[in-house]
C-alpha cells in the first residue's frame, strides 16, 4: 500500500460532527494499519451501533456492521474460526461506543476471558450520541447528559478494570487526541490475544451542550479517572489453546453400539413403566433393558420423565420393546408397572388402573392384587430397588431371556457387581412367586 488514502476516505468526507473524536480515532486506526503494512483483505473492521457504526463506508477493508453491543461477540466468532481453521491472518478490530460496551458488556468480558484474538476500541464519549445524548454506563459522575440534567449521580463503570480482571491480555486507556494513540493501536493489533483500548473522546453534538467542556479537558478527565494505562500480559490465545487442547485425537462419533446376539421371537410388544426416585438407577436400568432387547434382535424405546432437578424427586421411564418398528413412544396401558418408591408411586398413580401387572415395593401398599416385593431392602446397593424389581419381572413373567439383561449389565452397566447381585436376587424371588 503506497498511500494512506487507499484504505480510508479523506477526513473531509467523514460523516461526523466537527470536532468529533471519531475522526481522530479513525485516522489513528488507518495510520496504524498503514504503518503495519497490512493487506486490505487481512483487515476486518466490525462496527457496533451508533455514530461509531458509520465507520464502515470510510474504510476500504472488510467491514461488518453488526447489532448494538453484539459486535464483540460476532467478531469473536469470526476470529475463533480464523485462528483455528484458517491461517490466522485476519486482523479483527471492533469499533464500539460506550453504549455498546454497556449493553454488550458480557460479550467483552467473555471474549477477554477466552482471550480471543481481537482488538476492541471502546470509543468512550460518555453518552449515546446518535440517539440524543442520553447517559450510558460509562458516563462519569456529575457529568450532564440529556437524561442526567442535574449531573449523573453514579460513578462510571471502569471498563478497563473490568476487562483486566476478566483476563484481557492487552489493555490500554487513553484519549482521542493522544499523539501516542496510533502506536498504542498498532501494538494492540499486533498483540496475539484479546486487546482493548478505552479511548476517551468528546461528543461535540451533546457533551458540549450540557457541560462546560472542551477537547483539552479530556486529558484532565482521564487523569482524574485512573489515568493513562497500557499493559500487556503473555497468555495463550483462544485458538492456540483450543487447537492444543482438543485437536489431539481422531475417532468416530461415539454412539452406544449394540450387536444383536440372537433373534427373539416376540409376538406382542412389551410395555413397561418403571417409576422410582432420582438417583436410584431408574434411567440406567431402563436403558439396559432396552439394550438387552436390542441384544435379542428386537427394537426398543425409552421415554424418560423427571422433574427439573435430576437428583431429587421422581424418575420414570417408559419402555417399549417390539419386534418391528416403534412409532408412538408413550405408553397408554403398561404390561408391567414397576414402582420402587413413594416418589414414583405419586407420579404414576394414573397408570395403576391401566396396568396389567404391578410390581411394587412392599412398604408402599397392602393391596394384595399387586406383586409386593422387598425392593427397598436393596437401597444400599447402587440402583438396588430398580434392579431387584426388574429381576422379579424376569423371574416371574420371563418376557424374554434374562441372560440378555445380565449381558447388558456386564457390557454397558455401572457398578456391575452390585447391580447384578440385586438383579439375581430379584430373579430368584420372582421365580418363587
Amino acid at each position: 500500500m503506497k498511500d494512506l488514502f487507499e484504505i480510508i476516505e479523506k477526513p473531509q468526507n467523514f460523516p461526523y460532527c466537527p470536532g468529533c473524536g471519531h475522526t481522530s480515532i479513525d485516522m489513528a486506526l488507518a495510520r496504524a494499519i498503514f504503518e503495519l503494512n497490512l493487506e486490505k483483505k487481512d483487515v476486518l473492521i466490525v462496527s457496533d451501533i451508533g455514530c461509531v457504526g458509520l465507520v464502515d463506508k470510510l474504510f476500504n477493508v472488510h467491514t461488518l456492521h453488526t447489532l448494538h453491543g453484539r459486535s464483540t461477540a460476532i467478531a469473536s466468532g469470526v476470529k475463533m474460526v480464523d485462528e483455528v481453521l484458517f491461517d490466522n491472518q485476519l486482523k479483527t478490530i471492533v469499533m464500539i461506543g460506550d453504549g455498546g460496551a454497556t449493553i454488550g458488556l458480557l460479550h467483552l468480558v467473555e471474549s477477554a476471558k477466552l482471550n480471543v484474538d481481537i482488538t476492541v476500541l471502546v470509543h468512550n464519549n460518555f453518552l449515546y450520541g446518535m440517539t440524543g445524548g442520553q447517559h450510558s454506563g460509562l458516563t462519569p459522575k456529575e457529568f450532564k447528559t440529556s437524561t442526567t440534567i442535574r449531573g449523573n449521580p453514579f460513578e462510571a463503570l471502569r471498563i478497563i478494570d473490568i476487562l483486566k480482571n476478566s483476563g484481557a491480555s492487552f489493555y490500554a486507556r487513553t484519549f482521542s487526541q493522544d499523539p501516542d494513540l496510533k502506536d498504542i493501536i498498532k501494538e494492540a493489533i499486533s498483540h496475539r490475544g484479546f486487546s482493548v483500548i478505552e479511548i476517551l473522546e468528546l461528543c461535540t453534538g451533546y457533551a458540549t451542550r450540557y457541560n462546560d467542556i472542551k477537547g483539552n479537558d479530556l486529558k484532565i478527565i482521564l487523569e482524574n479517572s485512573g489515568g493513562k494505562i497500557k499493559e500487556k500480559i503473555e497468555r495463550e490465545s483462544f485458538g492456540l489453546l483450543y487447537k492444543s487442547k482438543f485437536f489431539d485425537k481422531k475417532s468416530e462419533f461415539e454412539f452406544t453400539e449394540i450387536e444383536a446376539e440372537r433373534k427373539i421371537n416376540l409376538k406382542n410388544p412389551i410395555k413397561i413403566v418403571i417409576a422410582g426416585s432420582a438417583g436410584e438407577g431408574v434411567q440406567l436400568a431402563s436403558s439396559l433393558l432396552c439394550i438387552s432387547a436390542i441384544l435379542g434382535g428386537l427394537n426398543s424405546t425409552q421415554k424418560n420423565d423427571n422433574p427439573v432437578t435430576v437428583g431429587s424427586g421422581f424418575s420414570v421411564s417408559e419402555i417399549i420393546i417390539k419386534d418391528g418398528d416403534i412409532k408412538y413412544t408413550g405408553i397408554e396401558e403398561p404390561d408391567y408397572l414397576i414402582i420402587t418408591s413413594m416418589d414414583g408411586l405419586k407420579r404414576v398413580k394414573g397408570f395403576i388402573e391401566r396396568s396389567k401387572n404391578i410390581i411394587i415395593d412392599e412398604s408402599l401398599t397392602d393391596n394384595k392384587n399387586f406383586i409386593r416385593v422387598p425392593a427397598r431392602k436393596y437401597i444400599k446397593l447402587r440402583g438396588g430397588p430398580t434392579y431387584f424389581s426388574l429381576g422379579v419381572l424376569f423371574g416371574k413373567f420371563n418376557p424374554f431371556d434374562f441372560e440378555l439383561y445380565e449381558k447388558a449389565i456386564l457390557k454397558y452397566g455401572k457398578a456391575k457387581d452390585e447391580t447384578l447381585t440385586c438383579f439375581r436376587e430379584g430373579l430368584n424371588f420372582g421365580r418363587k412367586l
Binding site: M80, H107, F246, C290, N304, K327, G330
Partner: protein, 365 residues
C-alpha cells in the same frame, strides 16, 4: 449393528455429516442433548465447539463463524430462542447461513423444562422484526432428525438464510434403537462462492429470487456485511430504490425457492378423513391412521407453506383434523384458510397426544 440413541445425538451426528464445523451452545433442557455431543465430537473432526455466556453470544459466535465461511449451528429451547431473536433478524438481513435447533418445551417463559410441547411454531415463524420468511423444518420421528438436519443445513447454506430446525423434548431426549444403515443421508450442499468473474458485491443478484454469491470476511474480495438497510454493495442507505429491491429479494429468495425444501409425508387412503400433523405427534398419527384406515399428511417443512400444494390435497377430503401439542392450534391457525369447512383442531398440552386420544376424537366427529 444397531445404536441406542436419542434424537439429540442424531441431530449432532447429522449436523457433523452435513459439514457443520462450528457450534456454540448454552445449556438448556431439552437442547443440551445436542450441545453435549457437539462439544464432544466436533474437535474430532477439527471443528470448533464452544460454550457461550448466553444465547445471544451463542448465535453471535455462529454468525461470525459463518461469515468466515464455516457451516455453523446452535441449539436452544423457547427461553433461549427468545434471546436470539434480534440476532436472528440480523442473520436474515445480512444473509448469513446458520442453523438453529429449537427443541420445544412447555411455555410460556421458563414453562416446563422437562415437559414436551409443540408451542413454538407461530413464535418461530414470525420471530423477526419486519416479518420476513425463514424456513422452518421439523423432523417427524427420532430417526428423521439425522436426515432433516442435513437438509436444514443444506437449505441454510444454499439460500444464505437462518433455518430453524423445530423439534421437541420427546424427540431430542427419548432414546430409540436405530439401525444406522437405514438412516437416509441426503447429498450435502454448499453455499455458492463468488468465482471472481465480474465485480464482487456482497449482496449482488439479478433476479429477486437469486441468492447472492458468497465471499467470506477475510477472503480475497473485500466484503461489506451489514444488518442495516443496504444496497447490493452493502452500503447503508436510506430512500434508495435499490434498498427496497434488496428487501423484496429477502422475501422472494425464500418463497420462490420453496420447492427446494418442501418436505412432507402424504399417505393417501380411500377415506374421507385426513389427519394433518407434524413433529413428535406424527408418530401417534401414523399409528392411528393405520388402524382407522384414514389418510394423513405430515408436514416437515412448516414454514413457509406452499399453499396451492396443500389446497390440492385438502380438497380431496370431507373432514380434516389438525393434531398438535399446543394450546392455540399453531399449525391450524397457519392453514385454516386452506382447510374448507369441516376442519377440526385437536390440541392438548402437558403430555404427548396418544394414538388413543386421536382415535376417540375421530369417533366423536
Amino acid at each position: 449393528m444397531k445404536i441406542f440413541t436419542s434424537g439429540g445425538e442424531l441431530i449432532a451426528k447429522g449436523a457433523i455429516d452435513a459439514g457443520v464445523r462450528f457450534f456454540a451452545g448454552y445449556p438448556i433442557t431439552p437442547a443440551s442433548v445436542i450441545y453435549e455431543p457437539m462439544m464432544r465430537e466436533l474437535p474430532k473432526v477439527e471443528g470448533i465447539a464452544v460454550g457461550a455466556s448466553d444465547e445471544i453470544s451463542a448465535i453471535s459466535y455462529c454468525i461470525g463463524a459463518s461469515l468466515r465461511g464455516i457451516k455453523s449451528m446452535t441449539a436452544t429451547s423457547g427461553p433461549g430462542f427468545s434471546l436470539m431473536i434480534e440476532s436472528l433478524s440480523y442473520a436474515i438481513m445480512s444473509e448469513i447461513p446458520i442453523t438453529i435447533v429449537l427443541a420445544q418445551r412447555l411455555g410460556p417463559a421458563t414453562g416446563g423444562a422437562t415437559t414436551s410441547s409443540q408451542g413454538d411454531l407461530l413464535f418461530s415463524a414470525f420471530s423477526n422484526s419486519g416479518s420476513y420468511p425463514l424456513p422452518i423444518i421439523s423432523p417427524s420421528s427420532i430417526e428423521e432428525c439425522y436426515e432433516l438436519i442435513i437438509h436444514s443445513v443444506n437449505v441454510s447454506e444454499f439460500l444464505r438464510t437462518p433455518v430453524i430446525f423445530l423439534t421437541e423434548k420427546e424427540i431430542t431426549m427419548t432414546k430409540k434403537s436405530i439401525d444406522l444403515n437405514f438412516l437416509k443421508k441426503p447429498e450435502v450442499l454448499e453455499r455458492k462462492y463468488f468465482s471472481g468473474n465480474g465485480q464482487f458485491k456482497t449482496y449482488n443478484f439479478k433476479d429477486l429470487k437469486d441468492v447472492p454469491d458468497f465471499s467470506p470476511v477475510g477472503g480475497e474480495f473485500l466484503t461489506r456485511y451489514t444488518g442495516s438497510a443496504h444496497d447490493k454493495k452493502g452500503d447503508l442507505k436510506k430512500d434508495d430504490p435499490e434498498v427496497i429491491e434488496v428487501l423484496y429479494h429477502l422475501k422472494e429468495k425464500i418463497l420462490k425457492n420453496i420447492d427446494k425444501f418442501l418436505f412432507y409425508e402424504y399417505f393417501e387412503r380411500n377415506s374421507d378423513i385426513l389427519i394433518v400433523s407434524y413433529g413428535v405427534t406424527s408418530e401417534s398419527v401414523r399409528e392411528i391412521a393405520e388402524l382407522k384406515k384414514v389418510s394423513y399428511l405430515i408436514l416437515k417443512t412448516l414454514y413457509p407453506l406452499k399453499e396451492e400444494f396443500l389446497k390440492s390435497i385438502f380438497e380431496k377430503y370431507k373432514k380434516i383434523i389438525v393434531v398438535e401439542e399446543n394450546i392455540m392450534g399453531n399449525l391450524y391457525i397457519l392453514i385454516r384458510h386452506l382447510l374448507g369447512t369441516k376442519a377440526y383442531s385437536l390440541t392438548k398440552i402437558g403430555s404427548l397426544i396418544s394414538p388413543g386420544e386421536i382415535k376417540n376424537f375421530l369417533e366423536s366427529i
